[in-house]
Amino acid sequence: MTERSEAPLILRVQDVRKSFGGIRAVDDCSLAVSPQSVTGLIGPNGAGKSTLFNLIAGLYRPDGGEIWFGDTRIDGLPPFEIVHLGLTKTWQIPHELRNMTVLENLVLGSKHNAGEHLTNLFFQPGLVRRDEKRWRQRAREVLRLTQLDALANEHAKALSGGQKKLLELARALMTDPTLVLLDEPVAGVNPTLAGNLMDLIEKLRRDGRTFFLIEHDMNVVMNRCDRVIVMHQGRTIADGTPASVKANPVVIESYLGG
C-alpha cells in the first residue's frame, strides 16, 4: 500500500464485509482504484465481484469496513446521494426501463432537474421548461456519442442485448460520473460492438473519467485495462498490471486455469 498512497486514490475499499445468511459474499476485502484509469476486476463466479459493486454503489449496506470515494466516506449513504457525488454503476443484466423510450431512459439520468420536484411544477414552470430542454439536449448528445441516436424514440424493451448494454453505459454517462462501475460491459455483445464500446471507454477515460469494470473476456481485460484486481472467495488475492496478474500462480490456480 505504501507506493500507492502517494497518488490520490479515487476509490478506496477497506476491510469491507458482507454476508447473506451464512454465506460470506465479501470477506474483509480491500482494494483501491486510481483516478483516470481503467481498472479490471476479475475472479471466478461467486467471488463476490457484483456484491462488491453493489456495496460501493450503496445498493447494499456493508456489515463492516469503510468505502471512500475521493475524500468522502460513502458506505451507509443512500444510492442516490452516491450518484450525486459522481459515482454510478451499470448492471451485468441490463436494468433498462422497459416501457420507456431510450431518450426517456437517458433523461432520467438528469441531476437536480427542476421538473422532478412537485412544487416546482406549479410554482416555477419557466425553470422546469428550461431545465428539461437542457437535459434533453444533453441526452441527445450522449445518444450520438454512444451511437444510439437512431433508436431515441424506441421502447427500451425493443432493443437487442448489445444495444441494451450501450444504453446502460449511455444512461450512466448522463449522471456525469467521475467513476463508473461497469458490470460485464461486453458480455453478450458482438465483437465489433464490443470493440467500439471499449474504444468509447478509452476516449472517455482520456476526458478524465475513471472506469472500474468486472469482465470475464480476457481479451478485454488484458488489452484494455491498466490494472487488474483479482477476487476469490470474497477477498482480493492479486493486484497489478495485466501481465503480472496473468503470470501470478495463485491467480492461475483459482481462476485462469492451467
Binding site: A57, T101, V107, L108, L118
Partner: protein, 338 residues
C-alpha cells in the same frame, strides 16, 4: 322514483305524465353517472399509485372511508344522541368545498403515514399491509359509535342544493354537475403532473426501482408522494360519495369488494393511462347498474340470478382482456420527447 303503482292509461302515458317518466329515467342515469365518477376518482388514485408508480394498494376502501366519514361529520348539522339514533361526532355544518379539502387532507395524510413504513416493502407485502389497514379502519368505524354512529350509519346528510319543492331529478343533475366538474379539473391537473419530469420518475420507479436509484433519484420520496396523493384522491372520492348518496354506513360501502372493483376498473381501462381509469370505472360500474335496471325486465326465473350473471360477465371479461389485451382498453401511450 315516485312512479305511481297504479297502471296508467294510454292517455296518461301519452300525455302530461311523459315528462315525469323521462325525468325518472334521467334521474336514474344521473345516478349511474355520479356513482361512476366516484369510482373514477378511486381509480385515478389507484392508477397514480399502481399504474404509474407500481405500488399495489389493497386498502383503497380504507382511504375512501376516511374521506366519506370526514365529509359526513363536517357537513351535517350537530347530531347529538337521541331516541332511536346514537348520534355521531359533530356535525359541524361546514360548506361542501371545505369538506372536500378536509377529506383530501385527512385521507392524504393517513396515506402518507401508512406509506412511511410500508412502501419499502415488496409488492405482495405492501398489499397485505394495506388490506389489513383498511379492514381495521372498517371495524373501528363499526364499533366507535360515538364518532361514526356505528352500523346505523350517518344520515340524513343534506343534499348539495335543497330544492323547494324537493326534486329528485334536479338533485341528480346537481350531483352530476359537481362530479363532472371535479373530474374534469382533476383530469387536467393529473395530466399535467403525470406527463411532467416528476411523473417520468414515477414510471421509472415502476419499471425498475434499483435502476432509478442508480440514476440518482430518491425513490422512497417519490413513492411516498404518489401514495399520499393517490390516497387524497380516494378521500375526495369519499367526499363525492357522501354528498351524492346522502347516507353512509361502514359494513357494505367500504368493504374489500370496493377495493377489488377498483382494481378491475384500472386493469380493464388501462393502467398508466388516466383516461383508461375513467373508462374502466364507467364500464365496470355500468355493468352493475345495468344488471339492476334489467332486473325489472328479466323473466321471473332470472330475477335472482342476474346479480351473479353480472359477476360472471365481469370475470370473463377480465380473463379475456388479460389474455388478449393485457395493457387494457386504453393502453399507456409512448412518450415521444422533442
Amino acid at each position: 322514483m315516485g312512479v305511481p303503482a297504479r297502471p296508467r292509461t294510454r292517455n296518461e302515458r301519452a300525455g302530461a305524465d311523459r315528462t315525469a317518466i323521462d325525468t325518472g329515467i334521467l334521474t336514474n342515469v344521473g345516478f349511474y353517472v355520479y356513482v361512476s365518477i366516484v369510482f373514477a376518482l378511486l381509480a385515478l388514485g389507484f392508477n397514480l399509485q399502481w399504474g404509474y408508480t407500481g405500488l399495489f394498494n389493497a386498502g383503497i376502501a380504507g382511504f375512501f372511508l376516511i374521506g366519506a366519514y370526514t365529509t359526513a361529520i363536517a357537513i351535517t348539522p350537530p347530531t347529538p344522541p337521541s331516541i332511536g339514533y346514537p348520534g355521531h361526532l359533530g356535525g359541524f355544518s361546514l360548506p361542501l368545498w371545505l369538506a372536500a379539502i378536509l377529506s383530501m387532507a385527512a385521507a392524504g395524510s393517513v396515506a402518507a403515514l401508512v406509506a412511511l413504513p410500508t412502501v419499502r416493502l415488496r409488492a405482495d407485502y405492501l398489499a397485505i399491509a394495506t388490506l389489513a389497514f383498511a379492514e381495521v379502519l372498517r371495524v373501528v368505524a363499526i364499533n366507535w359509535e360515538s364518532v361514526t354512529a356505528g352500523t346505523i350509519g350517518i344520515f340524513p346528510i343534506p343534499q348539495p342544493v335543497e330544492f323547494n319543492p324537493p326534486s329528485a331529478f334536479l338533485n341528480a343533475m346537481v350531483k352530476v354537475a359537481i362530479g363532472a366538474g371535479v373530474l374534469l379539473i382533476l383530469l387536467v391537473v393529473l395530466l399535467f403532473m403525470t406527463e411532467s419530469p416528476w411523473g417520468r420518475v414515477l414510471r421509472a420507479v415502476r419499471e425498475d426501482e434499483e435502476a432509478t436509484m442508480a440514476l440518482g433519484k430518491n425513490t422512497f420520496l417519490y413513492k411516498l408522494q404518489a401514495f399520499a396523493i393517490g390516497g387524497a384522491l380516494m378521500g375526495l372520492a369519499g367526499w363525492l360519495f357522501t354528498i351524492t348518496i346522502n347516507y353512509i354506513e361502514p359494513s357494505g360501502s367500504f368493504a374489500p369488494a370496493i377495493t377489488f372493483s377498483v382494481w378491475v376498473m384500472v386493469i380493464v381501462g388501462g393502467a398508466g393511462n388516466l383516461r383508461g381509469a375513467i373508462v374502466g370505472a364507467f364500464a365496470i360500474y355500468g355493468l352493475e347498474w345495468l344488471s339492476v335496471q334489467l332486473k325489472d325486465y328479466a323473466p321471473r326465473e332470472l330475477k335472482d340470478t342476474i346479480f351473479y350473471i353480472r359477476l360472471m360477465i365481469v370475470g370473463t371479461l377480465l380473463i379475456v382482456l388479460i389474455i388478449y389485451r393485457p395493457e387494457g382498453i386504453l393502453r399507456e401511450k409512448k412518450r415521444i420527447l422533442r
